[in-house]
Assembly symmetry: D2
Homo-oligomer: 340 residues x 4
């Protein structure tokens, strides 16, 4: 880190900073500029709280230099990670093939789920998404079918061979969800539910980690680091839109996150154009753009009867729309030397 002193800071103040730096087990290097003095701090201060120095007399601000995450960083592991999503070798995220995960927002019934599962399988999806435990903004809204929903998902896997991706919302649900699912999803609202991150880090099933709705990429990677530091390296990152002032969408899909994440981490990156826009009519374009931007996977809400969907009807596309979209992205994938 670099400690920037205020203009007119005294020699004693600089010496005090130096003393504090040494107390922290780090080395210092004082540079006296024409207008400002800065103290360059040498050593691994990645896990120190820089904030404490900001409150020291004479200090203007502290600039971190090292990225605060380690296991998630590309510096740590040079080759890109490929995360398997189930027993079928084709269901993996990372590598040349772009994996598509599709399915209903919520599991609503066996009939609905199986119908959608067969449809997305046929169109080329490698995994089925579907919520059994649903995080709902409103306490009076449908909260999911719970274990009954998980059971339906397992049957859909049985029938189609699709890997199952489903959300886990709480520590006490982890064992249950892991029993049925191939991939555990951590939702955007739980990206900094650290107890939950630790719990899914303690078990071996792969994790699809959604970016929090106003998380920075650094916070996003530190959430991954929580999971990885507990022993589970099979983490997939998912950009799902951020909250901005824009009003024609529910979230602003920040696609530049895809190449930027590829620049700093070895973990694969999935894009969610359904949550990432909140509008079914924007999903197709954003799937195309995500593939062109280099996404390793897509996760898409598909419903066979969106106007009766129990959740997220506004952003769900139908199986025929999904099939058309798959055709479109196959062509784009080929144009960027990938495949779907």
């Amino acid at each position: 880190m670099i400690v920037v002193m205020k203009e007119g800071s005294t020699k004693e103040q600089v010496e005090h900073v130096v003393k504090r730096v040494r107390e922290m087990g780090l080395k210092d290097h004082v540079i006296i500029g024409e207008e400002r003095t800065v103290v360059a701090v040498i050593g691994n201060d990645r896990f120190k709280d820089h904030g404490v120095l900001e409150n020291v007399d004479g200090v203007d601000r502290v600039v971190p230099i090292l990225a605060p995450y380690k296991m998630a960083s590309l510096e740590m592991k040079k080759e890109r990670s490929v995360v398997p999503m189930g027993s079928d070798a084709s269901a993996r995220i990372g590598g040349k093939r772009i994996g598509v995960i599709a399915g209903p927002c919520s599991v609503e019934s066996k009939k609905q789920t199986l119908e959608i599962a067969h449809a997305v399988k046929e169109a080329g999806a490698v995994a089925l998404r579907g919520g059994a435990f649903k995080p709902r903004t409103n306490p009076y809204s449908f909260q999911g079918m719970a274990e009954k929903g998980l059971d339906i998902l397992a049957e859909a896997r049985e029938q189609t061979g699709l890997a199952i991706v489903t959300e886990v919302m709480a520590v006490e649900q982890v064992a249950l969800v892991a029993k049925y699912a191939d991939v555990l999803q951590i939702g955007a609202r739980n990206m900094q539910n650290f107890n939950l991150l630790n719990a899914v880090g303690d078990q071996p099933k792969p994790i699809l980690l959604k970016r929090g709705m106003s998380a920075t990429l650094e916070e996003f990677l530190l959430a991954a680091e929580y999971i990885m530091s507990h022993g589970n390296q099979k983490v997939m990152l998912c950009e799902r839109g951020i909250r901005t002032y824009e009003e024609y969408v529910r979230n602003t899909l920040a696609l530049a996150a895809v190449p930027e994440l590829h620049r700093v981490t070895h973990l694969p990156v999935i894009v969610d154009p359904s949550q990432g826009t909140g509008k079914s009519n924007l999903v197709d374009s954003m799937c195309r753009a995500a593939v062109a931007a280099g996404a390793d996977g897509l996760i898409i809400e598909v419903h066979n009867d969106p106007e009766h969907a129990m959740t997220d009807g506004a952003q769900s596309i139908t199986p025929p729309m999904f099939a058309d979209m798959m055709k479109a992205i196959r062509r784009i994938a080929a144009a960027v030397d990938r495949e779907v």
Copy 2:
């Protein structure tokens, strides 16, 4: 809600919307304008998913009319709620007296905590804050003293009479934290951890609920509604700054939330100028502004040695700064016919 049809929508499309509205158990009222047709929906649609209608052919968008929360609303309960924070009658939030909660970000040791507790008590605080379980962005940072920290907080209460406010991060911690604390705090990152909201709603200790870092006021009140709908009416709302593009602060303190919340809910409103700015030198001004804006309480980070604080050193003020601030807000409170 109001369903706005697209320009050029057909009679059949309008009829289909009407059919769907009736299926939902609601009444319809079609208004044919010069350019657009709208379907006004009559009845309590508060807990329906409006999104499904947005995906119906010919529909442009759906505008909700009713607020989606009920128990938290001022329409439901006309007199303002007063929430007691412990056995001492003076420790309450709501009513004429503004309650000040102060203390360290984290419980670090018995000596540190007791010293700060005595200091803030003497300056006029009615409750002690201090974290025993710490939500940390970085997995390698100090995570709190856990039960040992709770024990120190209980001793501080013993010695000073201050009510204890401390954060609970997970369902499995609720019983333990409730055993020691007077008030359970739900942090900003957990504002939409619905399982946790339900769990604290199932027990009787009062809740200090922090606004999520990019939550709307409606989402904030729905989080309160989760707690209240599980049976716990003792909820205090806390504005703690929102995430924006601003860079001189960690968060932008949105003080207009205070009068706006007072307009729509009976729950008391606390302001956190420490998290709400992230800079110790801005805390005093924002405490003053919060009191002038009508806040029912303040929660402030105070540390006896900020430059050695284990967490949030940058935004902690010292006991002497706290005492000065208390003097300042007493005068402002009097000027707005309140007291501290």
Copy 3:
């Protein structure tokens, strides 16, 4: 518009709203719901100030129904506009062919400009961008070469046949810039400089209008409407990133704006991945994504010596990088049935 009354609003209050609506020359339709009364307002209220009704006793809020722009809307003109950028028929934005505009941020010298112009022409650009008048955040920064720069641009057109796109910053510059340029650019900071919008609307050269850094799409289209209502229909919209809390980019490129604008307006849509990210290493991916999302054009900063560029060095790509990018987007364009 829909006027939503407060719960418990009186009959007199509703009658007063009705009276005001009729005074405004509009028709009313009162709907008494179970909890709320709403007044649906019928007629063209597009150009009325809805705000005044929000301050009427008993009114909770006002919901606009009609889009406030007219000439820019797809409802007004069903076929998509194609905007010619100069005398060469191939330099046009709109239609099957995606037009690429490229060049330095600033015109710095004749040698630099001509070298870049030849390079981008060879790689397939149809227009040359380059600033002669530069809007700079800092008053002490390089402010552009002014007319001398325009003269260099004209010579580049002479030599290459490329159309010239350059920014005009003030009303008093319009005639001068229009004398040299083929397309007048309105920068993001001037998107709501209404006097300037009127001035470029009063002359016939086509306009490349950049979205303001925190403009809504509605405000963006109203800025276009200013130009069009003054008589100039040749407007191209340019998405150039919005300001958000994200810190790894200078701006967040909101690519969903491309399909959304296509849904509501007939004007062509250009994407600026240089301003839209602020990082040269993200430009290539975002060019690809923009083409896949359906953009009608791209505008890209290219510099032959970025580390000595006088402005925007951080986001400029080199001619070889540009040539590679052009090859990449040609393949993607083909995959979405377009061409470059």
Copy 4:
């Protein structure tokens, strides 16, 4: 500035950076850390484009150290500036007394303007605001009375002694507006209309500069620097709310900007709670909070008939509400050792 090299950057890359730094006329200081090398740059690089170094091979990023403005900085001028607003000595912003500027959004008629002017004068305002040239989002909305409006404002000054504050939107209006007004206002949309900033810097009347709706404080101070570097030191800064995702307000009033600006600049700071919320019912609380936060002045929209106001009816308060607010802030001003 500090140039942070990438992990694994080569010796040649570092040497190249050093060469570039010296070419810029600056001194370098290379620090080799355990994981990263940084090049500290010594000398006044305030007016250099740091971006160019970001594009140099091996460079990770560049961190500016010096604030880019100079004349606006508190380091340059230690005592706070007081800006006189007219011939009457009591009409000044800065110093112990808080100056209140009030009046209609737009000048609509002589009768309306005079009535409001007398009312706000009586309640204690020192200046009258009122727009004669109106920046309107919609080209079809009322655009102001132009010179006729200025004439009415001058008559209001004649009758009441109030200083006149009114907006100037374009370079070609500056001379005209300066002929009538005591203070020229630069609106939020024009905060980076650099030609206009230069033009008002070239004349002697004081300037009320509004913060752009998504401007950083640094950009805000650089806009002031434009005016000051052209010779006009009489600049008042005005916080008027920023654009965020919040939806219950038109803008989020960022009151921490008041103490932060006082920390870095000698210029006085005014708060606009009318634009800063967009809701008349939030104005009173935010006036109170602004005074408590240390504002040097307030600017408030007052209308005698808000529901017929031609502009901004939703956020205008009436003369009786204004008089009550003035009573309230007098008490708060006394509590913070100021006066109104």
